[in-house]
């Protein structure tokens, strides 16, 4: 079928074997996450093994849209497998990274890579079209992620730099028949942190594309796998090229920020405070609130119309966005950007060492618990907290597992558990890790679709679909001291218009104190789970561009392109004719498959509880969401709220019932799985007594 290359590479590191799986066996799951889950389910017989067991299978999957002009979907790669980061259970989990790795993988001829086993010595995998070679990585072991990529570029195509003499068509020797390319191989690598099997080890591609959550860097390390490099020159067949081109023109004309004549501009001096770009989607907006301190360009993943990252003169902060550039560094943007690069080079997952990481350690130091004379001894230079010296030392220790780094390499939550602090600090909120040990992202007491989705899954969901609209629009304006630029009712209208098959249900976006436990909120969560599993993580439209509800570039209605765009590009490339709703149904199927894998790992509804502080400690800072009060839509400040434990448990009943799951256990049932054509999954659950 068009869009797919037809085969998935299956690599056994233990036996150095290469096989291929026919993609057509799995196309019913769309691509990306769906195919990854289905392959994992089939390939891993015992799902209760440790992530570091050589039998753990890691998948890196593309989408039928990877490598094509489909907006924001051209370069993302979905990564899945048993992950060492989730706490207390090492769930089957997922991550995803941008850039162009998936595109190159398809140009090389593959829809994905399935990795199993463990190499007997450090190895990297070199893929150039049909040639797949297990290479010796002795010389790369110990290198940071940037140096590793440069070495591999040299090895594969001899073009580590971008100087004029290095700008060439490569693969000339084979080029007449096999094609040539000016592009560098796309490399995904681990740093020293992953090599040491850190649970917060990340996979890094280029300067700032990271699959951080889940700890897959540590899994690569456990498999002695340093990097995978791909270079390809094959074509991706497209069913209707004209329709694909016209659809992209439609996005360009109606929904992109027009840098020459924007319809919604920043109300303040943009250069000094680009926070409003959360709303305008302007190029380079991913650096969030931090000013541009040096000459730079906006930079995008393959086929992105938004180009949210930047590449800077010094290289600091290049391609890093959001929490990566707010991880550390006080008020000095330059130090923030430097810190981001350091973490990317070490291959350390930034989020768990961000504010809920280093700040927590600093709080323990101030209490006298950590430090040279503390209960837990460490020579971390806390007196330099806020300066580069501290973050350098912290990252070095985590990366090398030296001293306290050995504990911290397991993640702050497992370190706190070892130190006997976990229960009290999760209860007081000193350690803000609401679900599965992952850092608090958006407020779990107020913007509940985020934590509800997370606790029903395996990680912090990191899905901004509703978040830009129902939270950031009022939040940014308030932070800037402005009245919200858009009215709550207009925004909620635009969101609710798009949420097929629940379109028109505005109550799904009432985040008032009562409605967050309602049946409407069940639909909010279900919609987001299905959408994410299908369009976002399988078709792999980028989270920072899709879904699109309220779009200020599309005046006067400001209505975004969801649900029209999602099937439009998918159908143009594949030649299939599925509707948005069809995609949502496939998403529901994938979500239930994941839910079954977690059941096989022992998931029970009793585990689906937040850290105590979420129920006990009121939100201290202003935090805005949409809500309906006395018949009127408002931007409500949720300051002072906690989540009600009993009401949340009742909400879980309602959610499980909606899904057709067992309300006692929270697990899928045979009936609900068979309805989704997952009878074979029900068989395995029954065999393992998990249904």
């Amino acid at each position: 079928m068009n869009g797919y290359m037809g085969k998935i590479l299956r690599l056994d590191l233990t036996n150095k074997q290469k096989k291929t799986i026919s993609t057509s066996d799995y196309e019913e799951f769309l691509g990306g996450h769906g195919i990854g889950s289905a392959i994992f389910f089939d390939a891993v017989k015992d799902k209760t093994i440790s992530p570091f067991n050589p039998k753990n299978v890691i998948t890196l999957m593309t989408s039928p849209l990877s490598g094509t002009l489909a907006p924001s979907a051209g370069g993302r790669t979905e990564v899945q497998g048993l992950g060492p980061q989730p706490y207390p259970t090492e769930w089957f989990t997922r991550s995803n990274f941008g850039g162009r790795f998936s595109a190159m993988l398809k140009y090389a001829g593959y829809d994905g890579i399935v990795i199993e086993g463990k190499a007997d010595k450090p190895t990297w995998i070199n893929i150039v079209n049909e040639d797949v070679v297990f290479e010796d990585a002795d010389g790369l072991w110990g290198m940071d992620t940037y140096s590793t990529q440069e070495e591999i570029w040299k090895e594969v195509s001899g073009n580590p730099s971008n100087s004029p003499e290095d700008r060439e068509w490569y693969q000339k020797d084979r080029g007449r028949d096999d094609g040539r390319t000016t592009q560098k191989p796309a490399v995904v690598a681990i740093g020293p942190s992953g090599e040491k099997k850190s649970r917060i080890g990340a996979l890094i591609h280029e300067a700032g594309n990271a699959a951080g959550q889940g700890g897959f860097g540590g899994v690569f390390g456990s498999k002695n796998l340093k990097a995978i490099s791909v270079l390809g020159t094959n074509s991706i067949e497209v069913a209707d090229p004209n329709a694909l081109m016209k659809a992209r023109e439609w996005i360009h004309e109606n929904y992109e920020y027009d840098e020459e004549d924007p319809e919604c501009e920043h109300p303040l001096d943009y250069g000094s405070f680009p926070g409003f770009s959360f709303i305008t989607d302007a190029p380079g907006s991913g650096m969030g609130f931090w000013p541009k301190v040096e000459p730079a360009r906006p930079q995008g993943c393959l086929s992105c119309p938004k180009n949210c990252r930047m590449r800077t003169e010094s290289g600091y902060g290049s391609e890093s966005i959001c929490v990566e550039v707010v991880m550390y560094g006080g008020q000095s943007p330059k130090e923030r950007y430097k810190s981001a690069n350091l973490a990317q080079r070490h291959g350390i997952n930034v989020y768990p060492i961000s504010t809920t990481g280093h700040k927590y350690l600093y709080d323990l130091y101030k209490q006298g618990f950590l430090g040279e004379n503390g209960e837990v001894e460490t020579d971390l230079p806390f007196e330099k907290y806020g300066e580069m010296e501290f973050i350098r030392a912290l990252l070095n220790k985590i990366s090398s597992r030296e001293g306290i780094g050995d504990d911290l390499s397991e993640g702050v939550v497992r370190a706190a558990e070892k130190w006997g602090r976990l229960e009290q600090d999760l209860s007081s909120g000193l350690l803000q890790r609401p679900n599965w040990g992952y850092p608090q992202h958006y407020d779990p007491r107020i913007e509940v679709n985020w934590p509800y989705g997370s606790i029903l899954g395996s990680r912090d969901i990191n899905e901004h679909g509703f978040n830009w609209d129902i939270h950031w629009i009022p939040q940014v304006s308030t932070m800037l001291g402005l009245d919200p630029v858009f009215d709550a009712e207009e925004v909620v209208d635009n969101v609710s218009n798009a949420v097929v098959p629940f379109e028109g249900n505005k109550s799904m976006f009432d985040f008032g104190e009562d409605n967050i436990y309602s049946k409407d909120m069940v639909k909010t969560i279900a919609w987001q789970r299905y959408y994410s599993r299908s369009w976002k993580q399988s078709v792999q439209y980028c989270d920072w561009f899709f879904p699109n509800f309220h779009n200020p570039s599309n005046s006067p209605t400001n209505q975004g392109f969801t649900p029209e765009a999602e099937p439009k590009f998918f159908n143009a490339v594949t030649g299939r004719n599925i509707s948005f709703k069809d995609g949502m149904n496939i998403g529901k199927r994938i979500w239930n498959l994941d839910r079954s894998i977690w059941a096989l790992q022992g998931r029970h509804r009793d585990m689906e509880k937040f850290a105590d502080y979420v129920y006990e400690v009121p939100k201290k800072a202003p935090y805005f969401v949409s809500s309906k009060q006395n018949g009127e839509w408002k931007w409500e400040n949720g300051k002072g709220r906690t989540l009600d434990r009993d009401k949340f448990e009742s909400w879980k009943d309602r959610y499980y019932e909606f899904e057709g799951w067992n309300t006692e256990t929270g697990r899928p049932t045979r009936g609900n799985l068979e309805e989704l054509d997952l009878g074979y999954v029900a068989d395995e659950l029954e065999e393992k007594d998990k249904i």
Binding site: L69, K184, I236, D261, P305, N307
Partner: protein, 233 residues
């Protein structure tokens, strides 16, 4: 069409005629060996009727998303393949701005060595379509001499090779886009220009300075770009 015989006539006309239509570069460009052409190697070349349009790019504005390359491959070949794009964006993601990226487009040279090198007339100046230098895929015998000729003056060669269907590819300003309903050419639309999200590719009907890169690599940034916090100088 200018065929090979016309070119031979052109050579007989001598270098003087060639230099008459020559858009001069700055004296700095003339003095030193620069990328692209030098005055010395132009003197010996044959002028063809000038193309009525040229692609210009802004390498400090380009966001590296390669949408232009994907659009180019798509509208011409009906497939997605960066290797089949007639415009190339080459990145070193680990280098610092602005040396991290170049956009390399066909220059529609006033003295097209690719045309001169083609032994069959497959690569010619299309007088019906605004003198764009383009490849007739039916006539192309796959000798790759056009690519080699371009490679002598440009890194990388702007003529590319379609290894799947075995013919040379070069920018035709979208005159021949069987997979796109729009009309291209000097007076029409170009897929790369239409799609670029940051407007880092434009066309001009003015002949760019032929020596060096400056005529083709220009500043397309407006004051709005500055408001976004990016350099405009």
């Amino acid at each position: 069409m200018v065929n090979r015989r016309d070119f031979l006539k052109g050579i007989a006309g001598g270098a003087g005629a060639a230099v008459a239509g020559f858009a001069l570069g700055s004296s700095t460009d003339l003095m030193k060996e620069v990328e692209g052409r030098t005055f010395e190697n132009l003197k010996s070349m044959v002028e063809a009727p000038p193309s009525e349009a040229y692609l210009l790019v802004d390498r400090e504005k380009c966001a590296g998303c390669r949408s232009c390359m994907l659009a180019c491959s798509l509208v011409h070949e009906g497939k997605e393949n960066l290797s089949l794009s007639r415009i190339q964006v080459i990145e070193n993601p680990l280098a610092g701005f602005p040396d991290d990226l170049v956009q390399e487009q066909c220059r529609q040279c006033q003295y097209p060595e690719c045309v001169a090198a083609c032994p069959t007339g497959a690569l010619s100046v299309d007088e019906v379509n605004g003198n764009v230098r383009l490849v007739d895929e039916e006539k192309c015998i796959g000798c790759q001499r056009c690519i080699e000729a371009c490679d002598q003056i440009n890194n990388p060669a702007r003529a590319a090779w379609n290894h799947e269907d075995e013919y040379s590819l070069k920018c035709d300003l979208c005159i021949d886009t069987p997979h796109w309903e729009e009309n291209g050419g000097p007076d029409g639309k170009q897929a790369c220009v239409e799609i670029c999200p940051v407007n880092a590719i434009k066309t001009t009907d003015q002949i760019p300075v032929q020596i060096g890169q400056k005529g083709y690599k220009v500043n397309l940034r407006s004051s709005k770009w500055k408001e976004l916090g990016f350099p405009v100088e």
